[in-house]
Symmetry: D2
Subunit: 364 residues, 4 copies
């Protein structure tokens, strides 16, 4: 879902696309460049020379800073380029060949990574959820249903916060999951591709130290929140830390100029820039959501973060697409369609207001 | 399901088990040895010497005989030891790394092979079915739902006949599936672990030549119908035949004394012994089914083959287990349980009648 | 090498092959059937019914008997069908994804298993040896040469006894290897496809209990010494025993009628039949070797077991092939060829003498 | 070798490292940042919004430009982040499971990618070479030595230009390899991590169009020549182009902000900046090489590119390491060590001269 290229939005010839910058762009949060401070850090250090593969001083400092922010001095921190890479590297490193990972059916690893986890040899056991979130009650039947050696052995629980459909875990929910995992000897892994907007989302009560305390592994996503690219992986469980650089290298994820990753996370985590800009993304989305609601549109689900899922009459779609880029999510009913709008740290207030104004004009 | 060891049936100390031969044994169809003619063939040729790895004369003859029986002179025939081995070898040989196989949720490869297919790198896309059978209507959404490179590419349709829950395909259903697969450039693969009882089952109208004509690959199961072990793989699609012995060897399936496989299939396929003994297995199951029905018991589904799924009151289970070995399939309702009884080519009429008599005595 | 089909020996049409039984057959030791006592055990129990997948009483008894013979009451014993299957199942279960196995360049897993180990994701680090045997001195540079995460991490040492070229380890050599492996945190795995002829070979001073004491995992080969098929895997290291049945099932090696394996090993291990018949195989080979030497032929290496490697003038090969089947091993020099003759438990004295007599007649 | 972290050069505490910028830095060519024009392109477009995953206009333009430069309008061009990622993605996409890749023993994939190729299931068949270059004569025995299904099937020839030890292919050599591969139905794949310095190296007579004409797949390395990161993959053989984006995504190599890759290659390939800056790197290395030679030092091999391999007395190493960072390559003899110096597009003339001056002072 997330990464599906909208079939309505095909590449146009160059001439036509010139006008594109005037379009309102809500297609995703990785369409942006980097935050100015990130770019500045890269530029200022561009002519320095460092050792490669993440063994440089910037990576060391960024890892220290993250360990401090998550209040977990013994956690291991690694920097990788992208989310699918992190997921496949972590899961293939954690699991024995006959072990499997449990995920929501909407989980990114289940549908949108081209079988990347299976390609490393592991089954993804998918669970239907009402809201993209796993709970002990949903997981227990999977564990009980795999009792012997004729089936895979469930070993990791994979969750995302924010989920792939924009919902958030509460601290109570995360704590319950963590306790359940301990009881059943499962590892808890949290995909934080959109962790920034989750932790600054409406109603969130989870902190970075909570994540380090309650999960075995999680990652802090940079790509979708201010970095050019990069995800900071935090391995809390000591037994999972051993030899992890071997896994990164083997899966092609050890960036030669590793310092680029350290530099970006240093810039983002200093003075909590990471969270400030995520809060902006959320505000822009909430303004869009309330503005659409005021115009009478409904939603697939009430979103607390930077992805919103309005429902439009099918007849309105062509007009919308003439001024705006977004993703078609699926049919709501015979004559309505759910779409996804995503804002980012770089979304301007005038863009949001401009779009809402245009939308009012289209109103059927 | 199929291969789950019944938790009620744990191994007993030797003394106790001595009496076991007097128990009625309906736990599965691979609990038997080999048909007398198979054993005779192995015994008579025991002191011959042949070249290894299936390059011997017996394998050549058995392959010729099978090609003749399936009326497909250009099919490639290989002999392997067991069903999971065949499934993982075939699917890993057919699929490109990013391609996936579609199966019913009850399909053997989805749950009961310990992730063997995923261990070779491929996702199994599971489909809910009412009766264990796939149809074009059930498959189409899977194909449509995987439109681009962010998801796996469906490429093989996996079906079983008889299915894992004892149902049968009709010729019309198989023809429709075959046409659908051709239209969507999918390969059709049929798991024939219980092909013998399927093709002799009540209402079956499919023949071996139909299978060769309508599928790209299928196998003729020996383990569950008269052989000590062994499955005869028939590759009909020319493009899938190339280099197949490399795949068998790499996955550990090339039996050193390959002649053992050729010999067994020669014995089974000559004079259609294979089908004669399967018909007996079906008759025994049908007698059990009608006998239980006459005593007032219901069934999960009406079975046409050698697996039947009666429903008993929970209170009756301990008594049943005192005289009989079978598999618990699952709960029917709060106070009833579905169980599975399986007959085989070796099941004796007196065993069936004896059990039915005992059951009548237990009746609550 | 071992399993290479000799290109000189192609399958002949049936008519021609009728005379083949009169040929002297030294092509390999898996060309035979089963020892009479093994066949008898299978026949006598053929109509018994047992639970499947190796959970039956015969497997339990055979495992107990083997634990007793190897004097290692806490070893886990599993039965699998063939050697490549055992190797790939064990190595993929033991190794983490980035770890590798060290083997002699002549090691079966390096060349003759169609990349079966690599297909499970692991590199085989090959070492040149003069005699097919690994030593601490040969292994140390491999360990030292893989110091960091840019390379695989050596973790298992794979050896065969007898080796693929017929040589034997001494107890002192095996002890030195075992100590080296402990020091460097490597697992020691011994492939016993030809263990029977090794332990009864000229000059052998290793016993089954030595193997259990000095290796982490080894297997007792049945296929090449009296069984129809089957290898008994013995896992001595407690940490490697956990969940091993999952690995067997996932790799397609869990035989449905597991009792066939238990029965065969029961028959072979009782009264040391296994070693008695291996001693015969060795005697036949030694008679061949001394007989050829007496006729003036040299050897690639002096063999202590049932594989011998005589060197013949190229000009003699056509005559040899007219009466005898064997494997061409490689060129000795411009005009001479090394060939391999293998005897077995079933080789008759008259066959050996008959061949030597014929050879004397051919003498150039 | 290439990527081995020099054990002599461990990370120092921050205080000490402050002085490091005054050290002469020849440790590798990926220690640098990006060329100013690359950085400018990233900065100028930073606030543009584009679709993700390489479907943007910059990638389209860069691919067009590269197709034009390589004079192969039907080649497919993809952009990936790093070299190991490219190698494992290409090879796992090209090979059937039982097929293998032939490489020089010094080939990057054989030792320095932590078994990345094997982790995708494929054996790397390594060949001893005098100079890091493969030839038909060296490859033929590998092809002939793998005749049947008991061994892997060689299918790809992997070469690097420049090789991992700094040598270059000539057009005649590449043509011979290409013809050999066609004859034996092998694919020819060229790793171009250091293609820039190769094509501008002393004595080179190969052009980009030659590569497109003579190889099936090759890549143009950006990481080591002016980019922050990025490799441009060029797939010439039509049969290998199909569905390649699936492979990239599955292996974790599809960069969300794909435009970063397109932008960098646009900047590098315009006006042949890519080759101009590589020529500078070569000049700096050649000046180092001749300067060292003038001071009486020998070399492992005469280098034509930006990696040189001088031999120093062991006693000199501590002094060298006090002013200079480089990699220790191995022992030359009992008292001498081969080291590697690498220059880059960013190496300053004053750095080279400064170092040579210092070296003269150290002279033993």
């Amino acid at each position: 879902m997330d990464e599906t290229i909208n079939p309505f939005v095909t590449l146009k010839p160059t001439e036509e696309r010139k006008g594109m910058s005037k379009m309102y762009f809500f297609i995703n949060d990785y369409s942006e460049g980097a935050h100015a401070k990130v770019l500045q850090a890269l530029t200022e250090t561009n002519f320095e020379q460092t050792v490669g593969y993440g063994m440089d001083e910037y990576c060391a400092k960024a890892a220290d800073l993250i360990r401090s922010k998550v209040a977990s001095p013994n956690s291991a921190v690694h920097f990788l380029v992208g989310g699918t890479q992190v997921n496949l590297t972590v899961l293939s490193a954690i699991l024995r060949p006959y072990q499997a990972v449990i995920a929501a059916k909407t989980g990114h690893i289940f549908v949108h990574e081209t079988g990347a986890i299976e390609a490393t040899g592991h089954k993804v056991l998918a669970v239907d959820t009402p809201d993209g979130k796993l709970t002990p009650k949903l997981i227990l039947p999977v564990v009980k249903g795999h009792p012997d050696e004729h089936m895979v052995q469930p070993k990791v629980v994979f969750i995302s916060d924010a989920t792939e459909i924009g919902t958030l875990y509460t601290l109570a929910e995360l704590t319950a999951l963590s306790q359940f995992c301990q009881k059943y000897h499962l590892y808890l892994y949290l995909d934080g591709a959109r962790l920034a907007t989750a932790l600054t989302g409406e109603g969130n009560d989870i902190s970075l130290p909570d994540l380090a305390r309650l999960t075995d592994v999680f990652y802090i996503g940079g790509t979708k929140n201010g970095a050019l690219f990069g995800e900071a992986l935090v391995i809390n469980h000591p037994a999972l830390q051993k030899d992890f650089r071997y896994s990164i290298k083997q899966r092609g994820g050890l960036l030669a100029k590793g310092r680029l990753l350290g530099l970006q996370f240093l810039a983002l985590m200093q003075d909590d820039l990471y969270f400030q800009i995520a809060a902006h993304a959320n505000q822009m989305a909430q303004r869009l959501q309330s503005g659409m609601a005021a115009q009478g549109y409904g939603f697939l689900t009430h979103s607390a973060t930077n992805q919103i899922f309005p429902i439009f009459p099918d007849a309105l779609l062509p007009e919308l697409q003439s001024v705006c880029r977004f993703e078609v999510w699926g049919k709501a009913d015979a004559s309505h369609t759910v779409v996804r709008f995503v804002t980012s740290w770089a979304t301007k207030e005038e863009t949001v207001e401009g779009f809402l104004h245009a939308l009012a004009g289209f109103k059927v």
